[in-house]
């Protein structure tokens, strides 16, 4: 039902465009140092290869790489300015009910709080499990699993003037606000519509309102809302009633979309530049120079005693967001190494630099982290395309093509085996319902063109077919396209590529705008990617349904228009299962069915390489934002 913006983790390294010559500079600096320190075994543990992708290894004390980068020794130092830099601004004005990218989630950690949230921990299981944040304790759940009662922790304050207590009504307002006609397109009210009783009616009506209406009208809608599933009997209690049991409701309520929203947010038009954002967290946004810089400073209204998850070590967090587009990754890397910046914002460590950074002198600053359940990129078939006499609608054709791809080559494009692993199913290691299987095995995952060709012939296409590929014109995508073209060519399939502008992947012709848009056949294949909205043993809802639930094909993320009622039924059952093990088993069933139908070709699952400057201490990676928790960091004195 949702997808995380891949803008950051997608653009691993080599982004197209001008001025990536900066890798000359960054890498040479690395190389000089690396050469000087002689050969070495990478201490980052990257050489451990496949181990990194198997979550059962994440918790082994032997795997120290998750904490090798952390730099937690010593006692915290108060003060200093944390410098973060990158090339993309937030896309929704930092509004918690609208920000839907990892960079938004990263920043929101500092100025928003949710009823439940995730702790910063190097133990992956702990990091993936929601714990009380604004709530005093885990919710009381009724026996039938339909009622969740949260009690607020005392002492939470807004940094209004004068400071005011955060109430349960603020949290109710936050959830309701998701349906504002201006905010809803950016965020994801879908999760709440699917779970909270009475929410669907309210949300549908509110979303359909005129987006140009006055703040007063919006305020009226929210203040007069009568949603049976959200009740606030008093200032410190909030009760959610669900339509059916949901083993992942805690994760849904932990999303920043459910952050508290003060009454002031109803006094202005959402997303307009200049709107003041209030904070109940350790930091508050004090300057937002749109397109250039965001500055957060300490929030005096926040007290450590009320917050088990965050800290307030540094004085100021300075985010520079206007580095020139494509030079950014390498330039950021250079700045981090030189110490003129502390953390990256939306870019990754360029793969070309990884090897140099694995040398002992740099490796402590290099972290390679899991995003369990990520499948990026993958190839999706437009099963409704009429091209080549509807070849892609023929299951045998798709199954033949499953053998075509050299997944090891794709791994290399994204930095090699130390960062990526071939994937052969929907659910990736670490996600709920992951049980390894491979319906289309090839030797070494390098593809089997002969088999592909013979199966294609058996399907009725001895002379091959021609497919149109819409590929994104930045990052590694052109390289992926060329690899796909090459691999398919060995199977007798001609791929004609059309580059499309990056922007938001949802437009540019991929996401259709009419229910039968896919039948126009503008494209036959494309290579999107997927990052779940949350991680851990209850994130089944955050992956498979969005991509393969036929009910969401227009205009959702089921890009290729695949629809199998059997899968939809399994999804519905999984989402309403009462126990995690039951849900996991059902997700696995769905996985099996989808792979049998072959509506897409999975390529790989990946690790995220991040770097930090030398003076950053306690850099803990949290899967929740796929990034470091900036509220854990202190700087060297």
């Amino acid at each position: 039902m949702s997808v995380r913006n891949l803008q950051r983790r997608d653009e691993v390294g080599a982004s197209r465009g001008v001025a990536k010559w900066m890798s000359i500079l960054a890498f040479a600096a690395m190389a000089i140092v690396a050469c000087g320190s002689g050969t070495s075994t990478p201490s980052s543990g990257a050489a451990q290869g496949n181990d990194l992708f198997n979550p059962s290894n994440f918790n082994t004390a032997n795997i120290s790489w998750l904490s090798a980068n952390q730099n937690a020794s010593g006692s915290p130092v108060m003060g200093g300015t944390l410098q973060i830099e990158g090339s993309t601004d937030l896309s929704a004005a930092a509004d918690p009910q609208a920000e839907y990218e990892t960079i938004g989630f990263t920043l929101e950690r500092a100025y928003t709080r949710q009823l439940l949230s995730y702790p910063a921990s190097t133990n992956l299981t702990k990091a993936e499990t929601a714990v009380p944040d604004a709530a005093a304790s885990m919710p009381t759940v009724s026996a039938d699993g339909l009622t969740y009662t949260f009690t607020l922790r005392p002492g939470l304050m807004w940094n209004t003037n004068p400071p005011r207590a955060v109430t349960s009504r603020d949290f109710k307002r936050g959830v309701l606000r998701n349906c504002d006609p201006t905010l809803a397109p950016n965020g994801n009210p879908g999760y709440y519509i699917a779970t909270i009783a009475g929410f669907r009616a309210f949300c549908t009506a509110f979303e359909a309102a005129n987006p140009g209406e006055s703040p007063a009208a919006r305020a009226a809608t929210i203040n007069n809302a009568n949603v049976s599933g959200i009740q606030t009997p008093n200032d410190t209690t909030i009760v959610f009633t669900l339509t059916q049991p949901a083993t992942d409701f805690n994760n849904i309520i932990a999303l920043p979309f459910a952050s508290a929203a003060p009454a002031e947010y109803l006094t202005y038009t959402p997303l307009a530049p200049g709107n003041i954002l209030y904070s109940d967290g350790p930091y508050a946004i004090t300057t937002y120079n749109v397109g250039h810089q965001i500055i957060l400073t300490r929030n005096a209204s926040w007290a450590q005693s009320t917050d088990p998850l965050r800290h307030q070590y540094v004085n100021e967090i300075d985010v520079k967001v206007d580095l020139a587009g494509s030079a950014a990754a390498t330039q950021v890397q250079q700045d981090l190494s030189a110490g003129t910046a502390d953390l990256e914002w939306n870019t990754n460590v360029p793969p070309a630099d990884i090897r140099g950074l694995e040398s002992p002198s740099w490796s402590r600053q290099l972290g390679v982290f899991p995003a369990p359940g990520t499948t990026n990129p993958y190839l999706v078939f437009n099963v409704q395309s009429p091209n080549s006499s509807g070849a892609l609608g023929n299951i045998k054709v798709r199954q033949a093509l499953e053998y075509a791809i050299d997944k090891v080559a794709i791994n290399k494009i994204y930095g090699g085996a130390s960062l990526n692993e071939p994937l052969n199913q929907v659910i990736a290691p670490g996600a709920e319902g992951y049980v390894p299987f491979n319906d289309y095995p090839t030797s070494g995952n390098q593809g089997d063109p002969a088999k592909c060709k013979s199966l294609l012939k058996a399907a009725g296409y001895p002379n091959g077919i021609t497919l149109k590929d819409y590929y994104r014109n930045s990052g590694n995508h052109p390289a992926v396209f060329q690899e796909v073209q090459s691999d398919f060519a060995k199977c007798g399939v001609t791929v004609v590529g059309t580059p499309i502008a990056t922007g938001y992947y949802g437009s540019s012709g991929i996401g259709v705008t009419t229910p039968n848009g896919l039948k126009a056949g503008h494209w036959d294949i494309t290579e999107p990617g997927w990052v779940p909205d949350w991680f851990g043993p209850t994130n089944g809802r955050a992956t498979l349904p969005d991509i393969f639930d036929g009910a969401l094909s227009f205009p959702g993320s089921d890009w290729g228009g695949y629809d199998n009622p059997a899968v939809d039924a399994l999804v519905a059952q999984a989402e309403s299962a009462t126990t995690i093990s039951a849900a996991a088993a059902l997700w696995h069933q769905a996985d099996l069915q989808v792979m049998k139908d072959a509506p897409f070709i999975p390529f790989e699952t990946s690790l995220t390489p991040l770097f930090r400057s030398a003076r950053v201490h306690n850099a803990v990676f949290i899967p929740f934002s796929e990034y470091y928790d900036i509220t854990q960091v202190w700087l060297s004195a």
Binding site: S23, A352, I354, G415, Q482, P499, A501
Partner: protein
């Protein structure tokens, strides 16, 4: 035997020529060629251009000899463990590999095809269109001239790199579009000059004479006036070729020109960015070939211009006078 008029008009046979040998007249073309022949730089450029052309023509042959195609990716054996390119001198790869394991030498050879094709074709189209537009504008004058001249002014006012980006982002990048875009933004330069020349030429007496002989407008434009413009047009065209090549390289470098996997020197440089310093061969070689080509064409164009321009004769004369007797 009666003498026919033809017999009478027949020029004397060589044996009938007077014994005194006079100075032989040379056609303008012969003069130009003679001048060019003495210009060593021009000769060198011609040689370089011919070599590049040969490289382009031989591209499939090179691919066959090395066994590497220009577009077939070869990530598994053509890159190292981290997916980075292999250096020149690696077995079978004279100039090394690129980020997808492809042979750089082969890609450069095929890239030469693109550069030359785009350069020459875009220039040809721009020249033809420019000449026609300029002739019509200059010769007819009046409202047609106003319309066409203003059109050329408008085109010259376009922020052209910007517009090229918009056009390509709308229609998608492709080889034909790249050629058309470059031609579109270049024709006005030629058109303007031709128009100016046509404006001045149409006042000349030979045009008047042609008129009175009953020649039609088209005939006067293309048969009488045009030959007088050949010199400046040729110079402009020769100088336009490297500009077109540079334009294509820039577009491809920005990701807006020739689309992958077709190799173009510009998009090879763009691919090289991501790998940068570590794979210096990936950007140095395409850069060298690109510079060599554009430099050669520019040198040739300059030489042709010098050769065609009678005024520089004085300078030639100066030089010859200084030579030892």
């Amino acid at each position: 035997m009666t003498l026919s008029a033809v017999d009478v008009a027949r020029p004397p046979a060589p044996s009938e020529e007077p014994a005194v040998k006079g100075i032989e007249g040379r056609t303008p073309l012969q003069l130009v060629v003679a001048r060019l022949r003495t210009d060593r730089v021009a000769l060198a450029s011609v040689v370089v251009i011919l070599l590049i052309v040969a490289l382009a023509i031989a591209a499939p042959l090179i691919a066959a000899i090395t066994g590497h195609g220009p577009s077939q990716t070869n990530v598994d054996s053509g890159t190292d463990a981290n997916g980075q390119p292999l250096p020149p001198g690696t077995a079978g790869y004279l100039l090394g590999t690129d980020n997808l394991g492809r042979d750089i030498l082969v890609r450069i050879a095929f890239g030469a095809r693109i550069s030359l094709l785009v350069g020459v074709l875009a220039t040809a189209i721009a020249t033809i269109v420019g000449v026609v537009v300029g002739l019509f504008a200059g010769y007819f004058g009046g409202w047609l001239d106003t319309l066409l001249a203003r059109l050329m002014d408008v085109v010259l006012s376009f922020p052209y790199v910007l517009f090229a980006i918009v056009l390509v982002s709308v229609f998608g990048s492709s080889l034909p579009l790249t050629i058309l875009v470059i031609a579109f933004f270049s024709f006005a330069a030629i058109g303007r000059i031709v128009r100016g020349q046509a404006l001045s030429q149409r006042e000349k007496e030979y045009v008047e004479a042609s008129h009175s002989l009953g020649a039609g407008n088209l005939r006067i434009m293309f048969v009488d006036i045009l030959p007088n413009l050949v010199a400046p047009v040729i110079v402009l065209a020769t100088l336009l070729i490297p500009a077109a090549i540079i334009f294509e390289a820039t577009l491809s470098f920005l990701g807006l020109g020739v689309q992958p996997p077709t190799p173009s020197w510009g998009n090879m440089l763009s691919d090289a960015e991501g790998v940068g310093f570590q794979a210096w061969w990936f950007y140095i070689f395409p850069m060298l070939f690109l510079l060599a080509t554009t430099l050669a064409f520019n040198l040739l164009g300059d030489a042709v211009r010098d050769a065609l321009d009678p005024r520089t004769e004085r300078l030639f004369a100066g030089r010859r006078k200084n030579k030892p007797a």
